[in-house]
């Protein structure tokens, strides 16, 4: 994988959207049909309504795929996939 620092927020967002799509692929559950196409603008809280367990599993996957450490405290500022992309890039720069 090329360095995260060389990637744009857009590129990281697209990769994150794919990771989340893969994660949810067998468990869309109560997520409305109209939100199932995940994009960088998708809001994980209001649109996908991920519960805390799903957020945790997804974040652990993101950490491993991007080889970054994301502090629990950062999660409260993350709503959209783009928000998360910024946090991933910042974590990689640390």
């Amino acid at each position: 994988m090329e360095s995260v620092l060389q990637l744009s927020v857009k590129a990281v967002s697209e990769r994150l959207a794919q990771i989340l799509t893969d994660y949810l692929s067998n468990n869309w559950g109560r997520i409305p049909e109209k939100y199932r196409h995940i994009t960088p603008r998708t809001n994980m809280v209001t649109e996908l309504q991920l519960d805390s367990f799903q957020v945790m599993e997804f974040m652990l996957e993101v950490e491993d795929q991007f080889d970054v450490a994301i502090d629990l405290e950062s999660l409260s500022d993350i709503h959209t996939i783009t928000d998360l992309a910024s946090v991933v890039i910042a974590a990689h720069a640390d």
Binding site: D51, S52, F53, Q54, M56, M59, L60, E63, D64, D67, V68, A69, I70, D71, L72, E73
Partner: protein
């Protein structure tokens, strides 16, 4: 009044839970007959979800010790340990816990929750790093957050997930605290502490193990999962509670590091809480004595646990990954779990209902906790009641 709008969600939750019958968060025991029997809504009920692993809550010697302490020392200490709340009994219990865990010191807290908060808040400060098992108890999460340290989670019981995160920390790994539990309270699964300890030594980190559900249950002498896996002397901090195997209330931290003795000067949850009442200390001390002198209680506990686990498995229920005194029966649908829980309660069996998102895998569980005090007949009745859920 928008400040109170947040309670709308709680009201919805309450209505949903109460809709199927009894609200599982509001069960009232009108009477407690013994360690394994109570009365709920006028019905005689077998208690199969009370964490009373050794069944010591009605032990005559524990009860007598509590009464004597009430009569000779009064109802409460009315103060914190830093002021007027340190009695000889508190210090004696700390010495006995240190002896039990074969380490230089132990510190008593007023609750198990407070022990975790107080220990983590004392150990950590902003700039430190914590690697926390994702399925850790809320009190461990809260203590880590309270400390201001950077908190990173790793996959539950996953050694390679922990190692990847230790690697990512680089030089910070040596200022890192690994936080895990001995046995986890939802599924009853044990941590691979021997492997976690090997990693912490490799990276020069520190490990804290919460043995709340495993003291009195695991290990040749009942010291917990660390003893069972032969790494007790390598664990830096052991935290636990008096409210499960010891049948009382309160918590502790034991450590081979002498810094523990200084926690009392820096741990706000320790400093600003009234100390445990003398009767609680007296019953806990007696329960610890019983735990140490009556290994047959542990043998009986495992006998009951093995029988219940095997029978439920034979009945086709999906259970937690290993035999332990916590036996979690998985029910996929939350509504079905709620209905089954109500059916068990109406049939005279009390178990815990665990619902998502507080559960692994977003599933629901009917969680039994077995006691050494359960009779064979009671275990049979519990098995029959679960079999009835299949009808």
């Amino acid at each position: 009044m928008s400040l109170l709008a947040k309670f709308n969600a709680a009201e919805q939750l309450r209505s949903g839970l109460a809709g199927a019958g009894q609200d599982p968060t509001g069960v009232v025991f009108d009477a407690i007959r013994s360690a394994t029997e109570g009365v709920v809504e006028g019905r005689e009920t077998i208690l199969a979800g009370t964490n009373n692993y050794l069944g010591l809550t009605f032990d005559p010697e524990c009860v007598a010790a509590g009464i004597e302490a009430l009569e000779t020392q009064g109802t409460g200490t009315t103060g914190s340990r830093m002021a007027n709340g340190s009695y000889a009994g508190h210090l004696a219990l700390e010495a006995e816990l240190a002896d039990f865990f074969e380490c230089p010191g132990a510190l008593v807290f007023s609750t198990g929750y407070g022990a975790n908060l107080g220990t983590l808040a004392a150990l950590l400060e902003p700039g430190d790093a914590v690697l926390l098992d994702a399925d850790a108890h809320a009190s461990l999460y809260d203590g880590c957050r309270m400390s201001g340290a950077d908190v990173f989670r790793f996959k539950h019981n996953d050694v390679s997930s922990l190692e990847r995160r230790l690697k990512r920390l680089g030089e910070r790994a040596s200022r890192c605290l690994i936080v895990v539990e001995g046995m986890y309270s939802v599924l009853g699964d044990s941590a691979p502490l021997d492997e976690f300890v090997a990693l912490k030594e490799q990276y020069d980190a520190v490990i804290l193990v919460d043995e709340a559900h495993s003291v009195g249950v695991f290990g040749e002498h009942g010291r917990g999962v660390a003893e069972q896996q032969g790494v007790l002397d390598k664990v830096d901090f052991i935290v636990g509670t008096f409210s499960k195997s010891l049948g009382a209330m309160g918590g502790f931290c034991a450590s081979r590091h002498r810094a523990l003795g200084l926690f009392r000067y820096v741990s706000r949850p320790f400093i600003f809480t009234a100390s445990p009442s003398p009767s609680i200390i007296a019953t806990t001390r007696m329960a610890l004595k019983q735990l140490r002198s009556r290994p047959e209680l542990r043998a009986r506990l495992w006998q009951n646990a093995s029988r219940l686990y095997a029978s439920l498995q034979e009945n086709g229920f999906e259970l937690g990954p290993q035999v332990s005194p916590v036996i979690a029966v998985k029910i996929e649908q939350k509504e079905r779990a709620l209905a089954d829980w109500n059916r068990l309660l109406r049939g005279g069996i009390y178990v815990n209902l665990m619902l998502p998102p507080a559960t692994p895998g977003s599933a629901s569980f009917l969680r039994c906790s077995v006691s050494a005090a359960h009779t064979e007949e009671q275990i049979s009745t519990i098995i029959e009641a679960f079999a009835g859920l299949r009808d």
